[in-house]
């Protein structure tokens, strides 16, 4: 806050924004030291958005795809789709094939676009610029410096074209109006199909190109490869993800599959049964409920097969499935497995590699769908007639399994709403990752340089959703890290 300049003007006051002013309420890390000055436990506080359930009560269930998509400016399409699927379930209605394919098309387009944003812009500073790059380069300018202006322009233009497709079907990307119980609101006019095909082809080429960028910049760097597989960023846990009938990854639909740390199937169940498998643990220091596998139980912040902590997101999806369903992504997955496998990959930083593979998978699925004759069909909806009671909808959001669960009265008004977002599924593992990074870097009260970088990398690989929806002008959700002694007194604060 050293730049605070409180010059008063006639109608307004001028103050200077500096990074520290951007910290309000976001991403707090507390590191507690023992009497020897070693890390006893580090906690990552993910501020939770509150009041959603109360806000939903009494509202028509049909409003939920719009309401939930508006709580998050980053992944509106994921909430919109999970809510829409919960409505299908609520009214016991299956969308016609064209509607289902259109939903899947829009959803894969969104996955590709969102993953690209993370690879190049959000996560890029860690693995494109490099973990030990100077602080002033660990940002978007550093990324452009490394990949070049042409690639930067390509990222921006491809993203824009992908979003045009989403807008075509769903109106505004941030407030999509597309999914309805039993179908969708709009189809593709045959005359517009060439645009979809062209963008899908461009998207696939872009995803393959991104894999090459990843190979050239990250995989050719032995230090980075070593870091990926280092113990500090490794946790053998359970993994969860949606799979199709062949146990291949499906972002839009399927059964929820959980594998144990050795890769063996632990559970496979329809989304509706999630409460039989997932429970939430509460810690006094956090609003976030930590999800764990009910049948194993909460055993504290421990990894291994005896602990119920599991993980979602790209790495988890590859582990929980038999890999992607499409050939080019499958090839990329084999390359990944031969470097990090054979079994489940437990290296948190491999999330970035897994994300690139998923970009290819999403782009290939887009291409399949835009060449499917049913995609320009006109039967877009089956009207629901059943009396509503309970509906559960699940999709794989870019950041992992997203569950929407609504209960209603017989008129379809919400009496209960429960959302489990990806970051809640990951909360236990994220906390362990932060704790492990801190333990490796603080000894005898001495804090190694680079602590903040490494701790940030530990959680950013998961792309955590810190708080759906707050859009204050600075637009940032960086972290504040506090090191406390055994009495809980703050010894040092680091922040961005």
């Amino acid at each position: 806050m050293q730049n605070h300049d409180a010059n008063t003007e006639a109608a307004s006051r001028k103050i200077t924004i500096d990074p520290i002013t951007r910290l309000e309420g976001h991403g707090k890390i507390d590191i507690f030291l023992d009497e020897k000055g070693d890390v006893k436990q580090a906690y990552y506080q993910i501020p939770e958005l509150r009041g959603f359930e109360v806000f939903s009560l009494g509202r028509p269930a049909e409003d939920m795809p719009q309401i939930t998509s508006r709580i998050c400016g980053v992944c509106p399409t994921a909430h919109h789709m999970a809510a829409t699927k919960a409505l299908d379930d609520l009214y016991r209605v299956e969308p016609p094939p064209t509607a289902r394919k259109l939903r899947e098309l829009i959803y894969n387009t969104f996955m590709l676009e969102d993953h690209a944003l993370h690879v190049y812009i959000l996560g890029g500073p860690d693995f494109i610029v490099g973990p030990d790059a100077p602080k002033e380069m660990r940002n978007v300018v550093g990324v452009i410096g490394k990949v070049g202006v042409e690639v930067g322009r390509r990222v921006i233009s491809t993203r824009r074209r992908l979003r045009e497709l989403i807008s075509y079907l769903g109106g505004k990307v941030v407030h999509p109006v597309f999914g309805l119980p039993g179908g969708v609101a709009k189809g593709i006019a045959p005359g517009d199909l060439p645009q979809f095909r062209e963008v899908a082809a461009e998207g696939l080429e872009f995803a393959r190109f991104t894999l090459q960028v990843f190979r050239d910049i990250v995989l050719k760097n032995p230090e980075y490869r070593e870091l990926i597989s280092s113990d500090a960023f490794t946790h053998p846990t359970y993994y969860m993800g949606l799979v199709d009938g062949d146990n291949k990854i499906n972002f839009y639909d399927g059964a929820i599959r959980v594998v144990d740390p050795s890769g063996k199937e632990f559970a496979r169940f329809p989304p509706r049964d999630y409460l039989e498998h997932v429970a939430e643990h509460v810690e006094p220091w956090s609003y976030v409920k930590f999800c764990y596998l009910k049948k194993i139980g909460w055993k504290g912040f421990q990894d291994g097969p005896a602990s119920g902590i599991y993980s979602v997101a790209p790495l988890a999806r590859l582990n929980a499935s038999g890999g992607p369903a499409t050939p080019i992504a499958q090839e990329a997955y084999q390359e990944y497995l031969s470097a990090l496998g054979p079994g489940p990959v437990h290296h948190t930083l491999a999330n970035h590699w897994a994300r690139v593979i998923e970009m290819i998978a999403a782009a290939e699925r887009m291409n399949e769908l835009v060449h499917d004759p049913a995609i320009t069909g006109t039967e877009l909806r089956v009207l629901p007639t059943a009396t509503p009671t309970v509906g559960v909808g699940v999709v794989e959001a870019p950041r992992g399994t997203l569950i929407h669960h609504y209960e209603t009265d017989e008129r379809g008004r919400i009496t209960r709403a429960n959302l489990i977002v990806a970051t809640q599924n990951n909360a236990g593992r994220i906390s362990m990752s932060v704790d492990k990074a801190a333990k490796g870097l603080i000894r005898g009260g001495q804090v190694s340089e680079g602590l903040l970088n490494r701790v940030e990398m530990a959680f950013r690989a998961y792309d955590p959703c810190n708080a759906c929806a707050t859009h204050f002008l600075p637009g940032q959700m960086p972290i504040a890290l506090r090191i406390r002694d055994e009495q809980g007194r703050i010894l040092r604060e680091l922040s961005r």
Binding site: R70, L117, A469, F472, P474, P478
Partner: protein, 154 residues
């Protein structure tokens, strides 16, 4: 392209909506030729809204924690020069401006930012708090004045 009044915010998030409320109130009385848009505030959406424009006034809620809620703050482009390190999750105005600069994208030469300080919002609710609602007329007054002065500038 037309001059733009761009409101950022989320109207399910209480005071975060103050920019949207202001922009809706201003729709009927904007200077000739101005456009009004709302954006959800994810950074790259800003890029879409701003690219190719010359004059832009951005209205939003801000949460500096340094001044009382309801305080009206004005910023210029230089106030956002400082890039944060990578955010865990999102892209802000400083990053969008840096991207535009690095990629030589056409970006507003005249951009002003008017913001109202609000309390951190961590609960879903509709409607503005009393203190923000009370400050709204002054916020609108300032919006009008800035638009008029930007409209008059060459």
């Amino acid at each position: 392209m037309k001059p733009l009044l761009l409101a950022l915010g989320n109207d399910l998030m209480g005071d975060d909506a103050v920019g949207l409320v202001a922009a809706r109130a201003m729709r009927q009385e904007m200077p000739e030729g101005w456009e009004v848009q709302e954006a959800a505030g994810n950074g790259l959406d800003l890029l879409d809204a701003l690219e190719g424009r010359e004059k832009v006034l951005l209205v939003d809620a801000v949460c500096t924690g340094k001044v009382p809620p309801g305080t009206i703050l004005e910023f210029g482009v230089p106030d956002f020069r400082h890039l944060a390190a990578a955010s865990p999750h999102t892209v802000g105005l400083p990053e969008v401006m840096a991207l535009a600069r690095e990629l030589s994208l056409p970006f507003p030469s005249a951009m002003r930012i008017l913001a109202m300080e609000v309390e951190p919002v961590m609960a879903v609710r509709e409607g503005l708090s009393a203190v923000v609602a009370e400050a709204l007329p002054r916020f609108l007054e300032r919006t009008r004045a800035i638009c008029a002065s930007m409209a008059a500038a060459p």
